[in-house]
Symmetry: D2
Subunit: 134 residues, 4 copies
C-alpha cells in the first residue's frame, strides 16, 4: 500500500520550521508524545471510587490543552475499585486499567491513536488506529 | 521544650510491628510520605482553567484514601492560568503553585503538615504546622 | 513536497496488526512516545554534580531498551549545577536542561527526533529532525 | 514506653521557624518526604540489566543531596531482569522491586527509615526502623 503525503505548516504553528516531515507524521508524533506523557504521569496515582471520575477528567482536560489535540477520551477500568477494608487497601493506576484515545490534527492530516492494554500481548500498547487526509 | 510521647498501635494497623517510634513520629512520617509523593506526582502536570478543579479534587481524594489521613486541602494557584493564544501556550504545575495541607492521625497523635512555596526561601517547603495529643 | 510511503510489518513486531499506518508514521510515533515519557519521568528529579552522569545514563539505557529504538543521546545542562551552600540549595531537572535525541527504526523507515528547549519559543520542543527510507 | 524529646534548630536550617515539632519528628518527616518522592519518581521507570546500576546510583545521589539526609542505600531487585526476547519484552520498576533505606539527621535526632515490599502485607511499606538521640 502506498500513499502520497504532503508537508504543510499549520498557521498557528510557530515551531513549524523545526519539523522535517509530512503532516501525517507530525500528527502521529504529537499523539505519541501525549500518550507517552500521560502514561508516566498517571501510573502509580492513587485511585478510588471517589476520585476516579476526577482523574479521568484531569487526564482528558490535561491532554486537550496540548498542541494539535482535537479530541480525547480517557477511561479507567473500575473493576478493581472497591471499598477499603484497612488503611493499606487502596489501588494505584496500572497500565492494565487505562484506555485513552486521542485525535490529533495537523494541517491536512488527522490521526486517532490509542493506549490500551492488550491481553494477548500482556502489554499496555500505544498504537495508531487511523491516519486520514482532511 | 520537652514533651513525653507514647507508642501505641492503631488497631487497624496490620503493619504496626514494623515501626519503632512514637505515635507522633508515625503521624508526621505518614504526612511526609504523602507530601513527597503528591509533589512528584503532580509537578509537570498540564493545568488549565478547565481542569484545575478536577486536578485539585484528584489530589485531595488520592491522598485521603491513603493510610492514616484524616483530612486534606489542596489549592492550585490560578494566577497564571489563562486563555491559550497559541498551541504552545499552556501551563504545567510547578512548586510555586501548590498549597497542600494534610491532617494525619495515628493512635493518640494528630499532626497537620503542609506543602507551600515560601517566597523568602524561594523553596516549596514541606513543614509540620502542628503535632498534638488527641 | 510529496513522498510515497510503504507499510510493512517488522517481523519482530507481534503488535503489528494493531497499527494502521506507514513505516514512517510508526517510527515517529514510537519516538514521540519515548520523548513524552522521558519528559514526565525525569522532570522534577533531583540533580547534582554527583548524579548527573548516572541520570543521563539511566535515561539513555531506559529508552534504548524500549521497542524500535536504535540510538539515544541524552544531555543534561550542567550550567546551574553547583556546590550546595545550604540544605535547601539543590536543583531539580527542568525542561530547559534536557537535550535528548532518539533514533527509531521501523521496517523501511528511520527517524531522528529530539527534545530540546528552544529559547525563541520559550518551550521544551519535541520535534522531528529527519525521516528517511533505509 | 515514653521518651523525652527536645526541639532545636539546626543552624543550617533557614526554614526552622516554620516547624512546630521535636527534632525526632522533624527527622522522620524528612525521611518520609524522600521515600514518598522516590517511590513516585521511579515507579514505572524502564529498568534493564544495562541501566539498573545507574538507576540505583541516580536514586542514592538524588536523595543524598536533599535536606538533612546522612546516608542512603537503594537496591533494585534483579530477579526479573533478563535478556529481551522481543521489542515489548522489557521491565518497569514496581513497588515489589525497591528496597531503599534512608538515614536522616536533624539537630539531636537521627532516624533510619525504609521502603521495602512486605510479602505478608502485599504492600510496599515505608516504615521507621529506628529513632535515636545523637
Amino acid at each position: 500500500m502506498s500513499k502520497a503525503k504532503v508537508e504543510t505548516v499549520d498557521t498557528r504553528d510557530k515551531a513549524g520550521e523545526f519539523f522535517k516531515c509530512t503532516d501525517e507524521e507530525r500528527a502521529v508524533f504529537e499523539a505519541g508524545i501525549k500518550l507517552g506523557g500521560i502514561y508516566h504521569q498517571f501510573i502509580g496515582a492513587t485511585v478510588s471510587p471517589e476520585n476516579v471520575d476526577h482523574l479521568e477528567k484531569t487526564m482528558v482536560n490535561g491532554i486537550t490543552v496540548q498542541p494539535f489535540v482535537e479530541h480525547v477520551e480517557a477511561h479507567i477500568d473500575r473493576t478493581e475499585l472497591k471499598e477499603k477494608r484497612d488503611p493499606y487497601d487502596y489501588i494505584t493506576v496500572t497500565g492494565k486499567m487505562l484506555d485513552v484515545r486521542i485525535t490529533t490534527r495537523y494541517g491536512t492530516a488527522r490521526t486517532v491513536c490509542r493506549l490500551r492494554y492488550i491481553d494477548e500481548l500482556r502489554y499496555p500498547l500505544m498504537y495508531i488506529e487511523k491516519v486520514e487526509r482532511v
